[in-house]
């Protein structure tokens, strides 16, 4: 095989309907021509009856000038519980070309937290495939403050009854950062609950994208599928693209989606100031509360505090 064949000429562009709104080729620039490193793979497989309370803590480090294929596979057998934390950092410009597979057997329970603090020139794409069997539970949270461009593509298939799947996240973006979260939630069986709850704060010329879809198949009666995406814009130059979608073929379901995008409301701001808070303190309190409502969905107490602190640091830096 020639080197030419390995070059990436056919990367998706924003013109591809399925890939909207991320210009990967432009973000990668010269990195397109860099050959991929040897893939790094992490497999977490918890077998039935295996009792292990320890939290899996994975660090993914970006290295300057590289194209890194990363694979994460989490397999939980029937009735197994696990907590996985992923930390993303790095130096210089790189492309983390990541794929994640999450396979939850019946009654398995996974708490998954991602902390994305990639370098200012780092690019991360992450294609996530989730399959869940009956009575399984997933609580996924992602805090995204890093990277020149990040794209988090999640495709979840709920294959059995009584599944509870939550995908939550906070995106805090500044400068010219681009952060995209794209979700397809497939309800193929009855009596399942899914939640998507994302909140974004944009400053400077940052661009946020949220496209979330709940696809309820005809067999998936009694589905509860919810989606909420709210954005606060701190600067007139930032941009948010939101595309909520419900595609429903069953006739006995409860589904909703809601999105809001705008500047911080003036009314609560005035109310707090009339109670003695300075404008800066009032802004901070309101924005922090906005973000904390999503962080509160994290199950682990220590992790939740850690995430809130990280978000708080970002906010106090931007709202100074």
């Amino acid at each position: 095989m020639s080197l030419r064949a390995l070059k990436l000429d056919n990367l998706p562009t924003p013109k591809v309907e399925e890939w909207k709104y991320t210009n990967l080729s432009r973000a990668l620039g010269e990195l397109k021509d860099v050959l991929p490193e040897k893939p790094r793979e992490v497999v977490i497989h918890r077998k039935r009856g295996e009792v292990c309370g320890a939290i899996e803590d994975i660090m993914w480090k970006g290295v300057d000038g590289t194209h890194q294929p990363l694979h994460l596979k989490i397999i939980l057998d029937a009735g197994v519980e696990a907590t996985v934390i992923e930390r993303h950092m790095g130096e210089g410009s790189y492309w983390k070309n990541m794929s994640t597979e999450i396979i939850l057997a019946k009654n398995a329970r996974l708490n998954h937290v991602r902390l994305v603090e990639d370098s200012a020139e780092g690019v991360q794409t992450n294609m996530v495939h989730i399959t869940m069997e009956r009575d399984s539970y997933l609580n996924s949270f992602s805090l995204n403050t890093g990277g020149k461009m990040t794209r988090h593509d999640i495709h979840a298939v709920l294959r059995g009854e009584n599944i509870d799947c939550s995908l939550n996240g906070v995106n805090l973006l500044k400068d010219a950062q681009h952060g995209d979260t794209t979700i397809v939630m497939e309800h193929t069986a009855p009596h399942c609950v899914s939640n998507q709850f994302y909140r974004t704060i944009l400053d400077d010329a940052a661009r946020g994208v949220f496209q979330g879809k709940v696809h309820v198949h005809q067999a998936a009666q009694k589905t509860d599928g919810y989606q909420l995406a709210n954005t606060i814009m701190l600067s007139p130059k930032c941009e948010m693209d939101t595309k909520p979608e419900l595609e429903i073929y069953a006739d006995d379901v409860k589904c909703s989606h809601g999105t809001t995008t705008g500047a911080l409301d003036e009314e609560p701001l005035f109310y707090l100031r009339s109670r003695g808070l300075s404008e800066a303190a009032a802004r901070m309190l309101l924005v922090q509360a906005f973000v904390d409502e999503v962080c509160d969905k994290i199950a682990d107490d220590a992790m939740r505090d850690d995430v809130k602190e990280k978000a708080g640091m970002w906010l106090s830096e931007q709202l100074r």
Binding site: E266, E267, P268, F270, Y271, L272, R273, S274, R275, G276, L277, S278, E279, A281, L285, L286, A289, F290, D292, E293
Partner: protein, 254 residues
């Protein structure tokens, strides 16, 4: 105590035109007195309360407002609060994600700091909250709820009076505190306000109806129409308005 002289204030309409709402209003409330302002819809009652509290949608084009000799109009809303002004909102604002005890703590300490007083520690705060909530019949679990989120009309107004009691203002403006209240809630709220009456605190009670004034007895009643005070008198003026309505004043000004 509070001295309002020839106040003019306008708001920019959606069409971008400046519209004058307060048109030369003068009012003086000595320490310890309760004054009521009554008036028809659109007279400028709520505008007056927002202008006093410093909401920036309104532009003051003329006149002055002084609290204890200090120029209020020159201050930011938070500075007015520290100087002793308190506005009880007609429609208290919901603050999702901020619970009551956090909100009260932040507010009290922000005011104390501005006043050059020592901030309250957790225990001092707890004691203060306990004492004030008990007096107003507010249940402890309300302190864990987000500010005004899912509160009933009565709870919202009780919450305003609770904040008033905790912030120890010199001058309180009550903007239609009776709206959205049933008789029982009205009584609780009025009792809370009455408990705060003191020789060094004054009140401006804004209302449509005489009923509230049965519970909070005013020293002086003013009629506001077309952006200015058109008549002042004793409590009997409120009864007269209840009987005759505002027609007389609307015609006079027109």
């Amino acid at each position: 105590m509070i001295e309002i002289k020839n106040l003019h204030a306008s708001i920019e309409t959606d069409e971008g035109v400046s519209k004058e709402i307060i048109k030369g209003l003068s009012l003086s409330i000595p320490a310890g007195e309760v004054h009521a302002i009554m008036g028809p819809n659109g007279a400028g009652k709520s505008t007056l309360s927002y202008v006093l509290a410093g909401r920036d949608d309104y532009e003051v084009t003329n006149g002055s407002v002084e609290l204890d000799g200090k120029d209020l109009l020159d201050m930011a809303p938070e500075e007015r609060a520290a100087a002793g002004l308190f506005l009880a909102f007609q429609y208290p604002i919901e603050i999702p994600g901020v619970n009551m005890s956090m909100f009260l703590k932040t507010s009290i300490n922000a005011i104390r700091k501005q006043r050059g007083e020592e901030e309250l520690d957790a225990l001092g705060m707890l004691k203060l909250i306990k004492a004030k909530t008990k007096a107003l019949g507010i249940k402890d679990d309300m302190m864990k709820r987000a500010v005004n989120v899912g509160f009933s009309g009565g709870e919202k107004k009780r919450n305003e009076v609770l904040q008033m009691a905790m912030l120890e203002p010199k001058f309180c403006v009550l903007d239609e505190t009776d709206s959205g209240l049933d008789i029982d809630a009205l009584k609780v709220v009025a009792d809370g306000v009455n408990a705060l009456r003191s020789p060094d605190r004054s009140f401006l009670v804004i209302t449509h109806y005489q009923r509230l004034l049965d519970y909070i007895k005013p020293d002086v009643v003013h009629v506001l129409a077309h952006g200015k005070i058109v008549k002042s008198g004793g409590p009997e003026l409120a009864l007269e308005l209840e009987e005759k309505g505002y027609a007389e004043f609307l015609e006079e000004a027109a």
